[in-house]
Subunit: 352 residues, 2 copies
Amino acid sequence: MRVEQIKTPALLVDLDAMEANLRDMAAFFAPRKCKLRPHFKNHKVPMLAHKQIRAGAIGMTCATIREAEILVENGIASILIANEIAGEEKPERLAELARHAQVMVGVDNRSALCDLARAQRNRNAQIEILVDVNIGLNRCGVDSSEAALYLARYAVASGLAVRGLMGYDGHLQGMTPSPEKDKTVSVGSRMLVETAAQFEAAGIPASIVSTGGTGTYAISGDYPGITEIQAGSYLLMDDIYVARGASFQRSLTVLATVISTRGTEHAVLDCGVKAISGERGLPALKDVPGAKLTALHAEHALIEIDPESSPGLKPGQKVQVWVHYSDATVNLNSCMYGVRNGQLEEIFPIEH
Amino acid sequence: MRVEQIKTPALLVDLDAMEANLRDMAAFFAPRKCKLRPHFKNHKVPMLAHKQIRAGAIGMTCATIREAEILVENGIASILIANEIAGEEKPERLAELARHAQVMVGVDNRSALCDLARAQRNRNAQIEILVDVNIGLNRCGVDSSEAALYLARYAVASGLAVRGLMGYDGHLQGMTPSPEKDKTVSVGSRMLVETAAQFEAAGIPASIVSTGGTGTYAISGDYPGITEIQAGSYLLMDDIYVARGASFQRSLTVLATVISTRGTEHAVLDCGVKAISGERGLPALKDVPGAKLTALHAEHALIEIDPESSPGLKPGQKVQVWVHYSDATVNLNSCMYGVRNGQLEEIFPIEH
């Protein structure tokens, strides 16, 4: 089937680009002690998680208990929920999962620790935790080594299994590569590694020290004592990351149909914010010279055309739009169409 | 089941507010010649479409062929796709639908007309169209009565059944009520009605003249010659519309759990742009004095708290966030939880 025959709007993944990204990241980690535990939230495709593990990843990272359940259902044996969970229901689901696979979870507060300890008792399970440390993103995480150590001691006393630490430097992912970036990223890695040393000195296990993303893996992955990297975007790649100097290839586009034109300067596509995210700005057209996407409505993309430099667009014509923010765009779709040389090769169901 | 026991993030609909909106809109149209054909894209819930029809709506409006298929599968007998479709595949699906229900579609270009005529012949179906007129939104639609008449003649010659006209004034929905607004909205309605008269004079049927939304229904609904209004948002109501003086009640919130706090000034909820849209700005917290939602990440909402005026937030606590943009938020969820007096009463599956 030719790409143009896929019904629109459709999320396409360029298999050559995606496979090159998979290989390049695997080649980085192969000779290193530090390993990759890629983030599942960027693609939500169990088949891709298995490709990542076959390429050397030691397990998967995810953001929610639902994603952890999907991974366990699909036979992934080691999972990190790099996020906090709290309340009644989710700790119970986590404890249930912990009976079937290794599922670690981030913790940054005593209240959540109590929830986890209670669920663990209720289900007769062993929950494993990483203490989440704020290394500058100012989202989740405790603010100091002392607070981390206090929480770790409390976790041990509550019967939870402390495995180590995590910290996510989301605020540094988009920084352009520079010596300044190396230094700033290393500050976060050092805080994690030094806190891990304090854990060990206090007799608390810290065999896992997890951090990093697609914009920082090469720095933290070489920082002595960091044992795992959580990068996820590298596989499909956001247009945003590419613009900031990342070395991976963009693989994701949304295929759309031109449904309307007004004169020679305006066209409308059948893809809006229900098919492609505009949460981080407007996406760009792929290979449509002289044309620009200027607005996303719920079900429409508005295109402005410069008739001087463009061959124009016609109703019925197929156009591809680069995915700007893959995480939120994947979430809008039920499958990803794997394409190569203009042909549909494979369909990847996206799990929700 | 109490609301706080629903797993988070969850899309809640306040049944009292929603039912009041349903009644108020029905009361407006009951004594009038002009009728309501509510938009399905705002809720995507067949059960709610049936409630709207029981309350007097003459059928449903929708934005995509997929939505039309869902409506036909759920027994809705009269549907307007208030949008253009083009290419090969969608006209074929439309022709297939037209064998089972009345499904009208907007048309604004000859190329799409040819696609529809071909599909109609292939399936031995009768496709009904409304000529789409640009009444100022500058998205889809022909730009003049002459162009509309030309297209209508071409449609008749192609064997398509012309039923009338449509035009959507999306750019006026958010205008604050004023005599100026009445005048501006009436200009669009007049263009549609005058073009319909030209159709009739040329022997082309124009029994349907469709326009309007939640921000303009009361003006166009009273304009002589307008036969149908496409309003959809009124049922669930966006926070955006309410801020602009609409008379319906907000009914939608996302229930979330506090998963982390840092000091007394920061908290994090387990709902990000994968659960609530931020495409039109940041949503507001419901009934959380002294606290403000300041950012949406993929799976997190960041909250800033003023300790002086707030009782604070604790991990595990449940919080509701007003839905700012219901259309895109409904699209992120698999169901809507109908709540009344703090209790879960009904679950509405959302169709995708």
